[in-house]
Symmetry: C2
Subunit: 149 residues, 2 copies
């Protein structure tokens, strides 16, 4: 394929359409944990009926990555003090997990704990109630993704 | 915040704006490896000048997640035969890493190998030349994300 054709088909912007939403007791940014393993609650992922075929093989006990859209983020921020602590040196956002970044996609590694129709309970996801889910992917067992290489 | 307010601000669709592109020898879907650890090449990530402040702290030797937009994907597919092999039972896309899915965001765990201005060389990323990069995140050292819990 010619370079200019590739450029044309990939120039963006791209439209992300939510596939579901997070049902969480977290509603307050100040009190939310910074990462899921720092005391985030169990939350329900409520999927839209349109994607029922896509979630049919999700399983209790399996580890997945959940991708969300962090709708409260600032998209014009390129450097932050990590963990909102001014004592931490300002750092480029692509070296942090700040929600403030040009494309505020949240990446959460969680484990499925229960399934009830279109709703999946997952453990340890630090997102506000109402946050939209945009993708779910299995965690691969290959040595590279598991951090074992 | 009232439920209807949350709903309004999160309804989507959301606009993803690319922040850079992949420079890869891979140009052919049929020959591309399915996952990065299956022989994918080293590739350069060429970032846009607008996000220079965001990448300034990327480091050689650090593991990061690179998020891409898989522009050749089919977005109307909810179930696939994994690895394009008809012998594998049809599976909901959210239990696979198929590029065909409602929001075709690619998730690639890679290691920084070299940095040259706005370009970062990473090892083992299975994306076609010209694929747009939409985010970069550090791999956390917490036990949960490392798969060690």
């Amino acid at each position: 394929m010619a370079e200019d054709t590739v450029a044309a088909e990939t120039a963006g912007p791209y439209a992300i359409r939510p596939i579901g939403r997070v049902e969480s007791p977290l509603t307050d940014r100040e009190r939310a944990p910074k990462q899921g393993f720092e005391g985030a609650p169990d939350v329900w992922l409520a999927f839209d009926p349109e994607v029922a075929d896509g979630i049919r093989d999700l399983a209790v006990g399996a580890d997945v990555f959940v991708l969300t859209w962090l709708h409260r983020a600032r998209r014009d921020v390129l450097a932050v003090h990590p963990r909102d602590d001014p004592r931490n040196p300002e750092t480029g956002v692509f070296s942090t997990r700040s929600q403030d970044r040009p494309n505020p996609i949240g990446l959460h590694r969680v484990r499925g704990a229960a399934i009830d129709g279109l709703r999946v309970l997952v453990q340890g996801l630090e997102a506000f109630d109402g946050t939209r889910v945009v993708d779910v992917k299995p965690v691969l067992t290959g040595a590279q993704e598991a951090g074992l290489r």
